[in-house]
């Protein structure tokens, strides 16, 4: 039960009742996330500049160290801290509830910070450059695994606080009917997180024991199978979380409502039910596993998790189009899109994230995850090219976008440099799209990932990559500079606004549609009469055609290699 000591404030913009303990925890987790983004982002820049053969700034051992730390800091620390903040927001704030067990949430936070710092310190000592995946028999210092385990336990505790909050909100009847769609998406993310973090514990605990000498052998194939149940499934947490963020931003900036609650919620549910045995995508060219196993687990025969994303790919822009048309932007196919609030960084970041995630990340992921086609791409730069489109252009850009709403609403500070905020999503998106495309291009030419020197200057035997590969790596370096600039603009603005920004009095302008919706249509959705989305239909048709063409082009490439069986 809520006690008198539990304090709340009423948000002047949304009218939501905000629990102050939850607010402080959201702030703490968001700030930690940004700190790790800064560190991990700089490491990423140094990696990209080293890959550019003409620049090649880091020596080999530093390159492998930086690459290990880059993966850990951005893929794990930045994203999971931010996701914890989103979970608290989607539960306590959106449901008008108090947060369950704030003390436990602080313990979770502390564990995550301790774990993250421990692993970083161990990596920086230099003898644990095993990459984020740490495939045995390559062995790191015990502290590397211990830090990861502490981090995972902390994250699991935070997920527990989220579920507890849902129970409290239901019992104390802080909302009516069903939870909002965004909260539903967050629940999806949290359920997947439990599976993910448990898999992490199952594999990292024995690996830790192996690193201290208590277990004699870790089978490398078994390790990969279980490790990727964490490594890949956790990307499904990101997808659920950033799709929830897309819906949230569309709602907050345009008053957009899902076309159909049923369809959007079912699409989220598909992520949980058909989260493919995600390890399979990473084991397609591994010995010792049958083709039947690979084909079935990579698709469950129907690709229903892919279907979930394709549904969101229509319902999210469809919701935007519907809201815009109701506002009167009904001319032609795309007036709704042209007249969208492109100057609002939250909207711009969200829409760019949606487009880049679908076209670059989504298509390349499914193609690369096709059993036979994986032969052309496994462990080449194509793989990081793909996941930078999903995790950075998709998740990170969406998280950056919602920050522009979180700072005024939760931190109650005005954005200090609004012009900089306006440009930031575009610069970051151009940079990250370039990184993805050029790494995929280099991968298509056979350039390996996690490789310090494709000129093989120290090697006994040589191989000359085609000049196009060098061009791709140079363009990748330039794109990384653009992305780093976009990242710096984000971090500087957020840190400055939070530390020195003017306090917000009254309602927040950015978080409200420029033109309010006519009162008559507010609240009427899921109703067939009001849906007209021809522009979205064109967009998804273009998407599907690109998908089909690119898919079959890769089969064509495959048919040109040596016959093998």
């Amino acid at each position: 039960m809520a006690t008198a000591a539990e304090t709340f404030r009423i948000c002047p913009t949304t009218g939501l009742k905000i629990h102050l303990s939850a607010q402080t925890l959201i702030k703490a987790n968001a700030v930690a996330a940004v700190v790790f983004l800064l560190f991990g982002g700089l490491l990423g820049l140094s990696v990209a500049l080293t890959r550019w053969p003409a620049v090649h700034i880091l020596p080999a051992n530093w390159f492998y160290l930086a690459l290990t730390a880059h993966g850990f800091n951005v893929l794990l620390c930045w994203i999971i801290f931010f996701e914890v903040a989103i979970l608290y927001f989607a539960s306590a704030v959106l449901l008008n509830s108090r947060l369950a067990a704030p003390r436990a949430a602080w313990v979770a936070f502390a564990l995550m910070v301790i774990g993250a710092v421990m692993t970083n310190v161990v990596v920086l000592q230099g003898d644990s450059s095993v990459m984020f995946t740490s495939y045995p028999p390559l062995r790191a210092q015990p502290g590397f695994y211990l830090g990861l385990i502490l981090f995972a336990v902390g994250a699991l505790t935070a997920v527990g606080c989220f579920f507890g909050t849902l129970v409290i909100a239901k019992e104390e009847k802080t909302y009516e009917g069903s939870v909002p769609l965004v909260t539903f998406g967050a629940i999806t993310a949290a359920i997947i997180a439990v599976f993910t973090l448990a898999s992490g514990a199952i594999i990292l605990i024995p690996t830790f024991l192996w690193s201290v000498g208590l277990v004699s052998n870790i089978d490398p194939l078994m390790y990969k199978l279980v490790w990727w149940a964490m490594g890949h499934s956790s990307q499904q947490i990101n997808v659920s979380a950033h799709v929830a963020v897309w819906y949230a931003i569309a709602a907050m900036t345009l008053g957009a409502k899902p076309i159909s609650e049923k369809v959007s919620r079912t699409a989220f549910l598909l992520y949980i039910l058909f989260l493919q045995l995600a390890s399979a995508h990473h084991l397609l060219v591994e010995p010792g596993l049958s083709s039947e196993w690979k084909v079935f687990n990579t698709s469950y025969a129907m690709y229903l998790a892919v279907l979930g994303s394709m549904i969101h790919g229509m319902t999210v822009p469809g919701a935007v189009e519907t809201a815009q048309r109701e506002r009167g932007y009904t001319k032609g196919l795309f007036e709704w899109l042209r007249k969208a609030p492109w100057g609002n960084p939250a909207f711009a970041g969200f829409f760019l994230s949606l487009v880049l995630f679908g076209f670059l990340g989504g298509i390349s992921g499914v193609v690369m995850g096709t059993e036979q086609i994986n032969l052309l791409m496994h462990n080449t730069l194509y793989a990081p090219g793909h996941f930078h489109a999903t995790v950075v252009a998709g998740t990170t850009l969406a998280f950056m976008a919602i920050t522009y709403l979180v700072v005024p609403l939760i931190f109650q500070k005005e954005i200090m440099f609004p012009r900089m905020a306006q440009w930031q999503p575009y610069i970051f998106a151009i940079g990250i799209a370039g990184i993805s495309v050029f790494m995929m291009g280099a991968g298509t030419l056979g350039v390996p990932r996690r490789h310090w020197d494709i000129t093989f200057s120290d090697a006994l035997l040589h191989y000359d990559y085609p000049p196009a590969a060098y061009l791709m790596l140079a363009l990748n370096g330039l794109s990384a500079i653009a992305a780093a600039l976009g990242g710096a603009m984000y971090i500087i603005n957020v840190v400055a606004s939070v530390s020195f920004g003017k306090s917000v009095k009254g309602a927040v302008r950015q978080a409200q549609p420029a033109t309010p919706l006519p009162a008559a249509v507010v609240g009427q959705y899921g109703s067939v009469a009001h849906v007209r989305i021809p522009g979205t239909v064109v967009l998804v048709t273009v998407f599907l055609v690109s998908f089909v063409l690119y898919y079959f082009v890769n089969w064509k490439y495959l048919s040109e290699v040596w016959p093998m069986r």
Binding site: P180, P287, T370, L375, L445, P448, H451, M564
Partner: protein
Amino acid sequence: MAISPPRERLWWKQPIHRVELIWILVAFLWGIVMFGMMVYWHAFGKHNLSNETYKVAPNEYYAKTEAMVSKYTVREEKGIPVVHPPPGSDVYLMARVWAWYPSLEFEQGQTYRLHLSSIDLQHGFSLQPMNINIQVHPGYEHVLTVTADQAREYSIICNEFCGFGHHTMVGKLYVVAK
């Protein structure tokens, strides 16, 4: 809005718009096509990764490789033996930090049983410029049946990180016209 509870309490009873239904159906069918392609390729395609794998101790694999090297070596390059095994035979390629051992010479148009394994860490077999990529594990012997259809020099790059000398790990595979 998506950030507030659904206005219709019985949202699951609302009808679905026709456009959404069509898209769901199209996307679903596309998923079935993609699944079908993988199965089809196993039946009719000529490029499928072999499932033939054996457990093997690193020292056993080392011995098998050495036996082949001593039998079929035709020359040396920078101290690395180049092996020309008879067509159709079992060929052993051994990965270790940081070399592919030995270098191989195949005859164009001939088929070989190519064995892959590692005696220490995981490595990545990446045949360039063809761009075929296969993971190599210690303890597992993976047997591929390959047909070398073009006469030229190929390089084998390691594309799984295997320690600080990873980027020096390059091997050679020559295909010679017969």
